[in-house]
Subunit: 216 residues, 2 copies
Amino acid sequence: MNVAVLGTGVVGQTLATKLVSLGHAVTMGSRQSGNEKAAAWVASAGDLASEGSFADAASSGALVVNATSGMASLDALVAAGAQNLAGKVLVDVANPLDFSQGMPPTLNPCNTDSLGERIQRAFPETRVVKSLNTVNCNVMVNPALVGGSHTMFMAGNDDTAKADVRALLESFGWPADDVMDLGDITAARGLEMYLPLWLRLWGATGTGHFNVKVVL
Amino acid sequence: MNVAVLGTGVVGQTLATKLVSLGHAVTMGSRQSGNEKAAAWVASAGDLASEGSFADAASSGALVVNATSGMASLDALVAAGAQNLAGKVLVDVANPLDFSQGMPPTLNPCNTDSLGERIQRAFPETRVVKSLNTVNCNVMVNPALVGGSHTMFMAGNDDTAKADVRALLESFGWPADDVMDLGDITAARGLEMYLPLWLRLWGATGTGHFNVKVVL
């Protein structure tokens, strides 16, 4: 499958590398084609890797991953182009963390809205699925870094899109039983508002390689 | 120990009943002594149970539990009286859920502040510990309702207060290894902002008797 990974940071590179390792042709998208980090990734990632503008990537991808910085995601997606995103599954892994006031970051939006919902509203023809935003990027693509079973959430309005994302998560190593569907995209609010707790758990455990397991 | 439980709702009644069953003398506090729900609880709860105003309860308790509705907690604590709370451990189990705009509730405060922090700032001589707010009240006092091990968080500025709360949690049945200290009271922000996810997990699991376990 052709996959667009929007974003050249650690999250984007980690996801893009995993996708290539699974045999997908991945185009890493950034503001301008020729981006230094994207080009360096392409040079190291083999024949299935390419890079281009957000629009280049989105137009080539059958599936699009939003791994841009959460505060910049909507601008990035506008640059990607609604026509290039229409009808496609967009996996939104970003968190709208605002570091402009220092640490700890705040969320923007928060409480009455979420980035996942904003993306879905801005691109109504795109099938947005919020997922993977609740774990460190190494855990995203290698859940076995965390011991035992633990839970990956997803939320979105389109059931077939969630089935596609579930298959992608399983290809990353997430057991089917550990993937929990929280319903429509408004659940992105809870998934993003979990981040302040995630940050404290990171501090308390001393590692980013943790997750939570929902226990009944 | 004499314990004040502020609040007459399901959470307050559940905690008060558990505390009495453990041999504590519990005074349930409400806006006015003679509150109907508090009186009914006293009538059913035995000789260790009493009720009174918020100030009556706070003055009699060596430990104070804030189980009032989160949006009303600061007013309740002002009525309880700073002098009656000074030096004491206050376990804040409340969530500042605002249902005034319908479902889902929003949090007020949120993102840049929390109820736990507000209480600590308003009552600097009180040793506030945020805990128990991340589970249903039946699970608070009976963690075995949830299968296997799962995690209870606490946060506060005073280590001896947290040791007292840890002992209380253990008396409720929480294994020591399942209690996680997230640091100072600013972690209350993450603990309260978990509520929107908790509400979606409630919906997805179909039961309030669940929790999360932190897995490394």
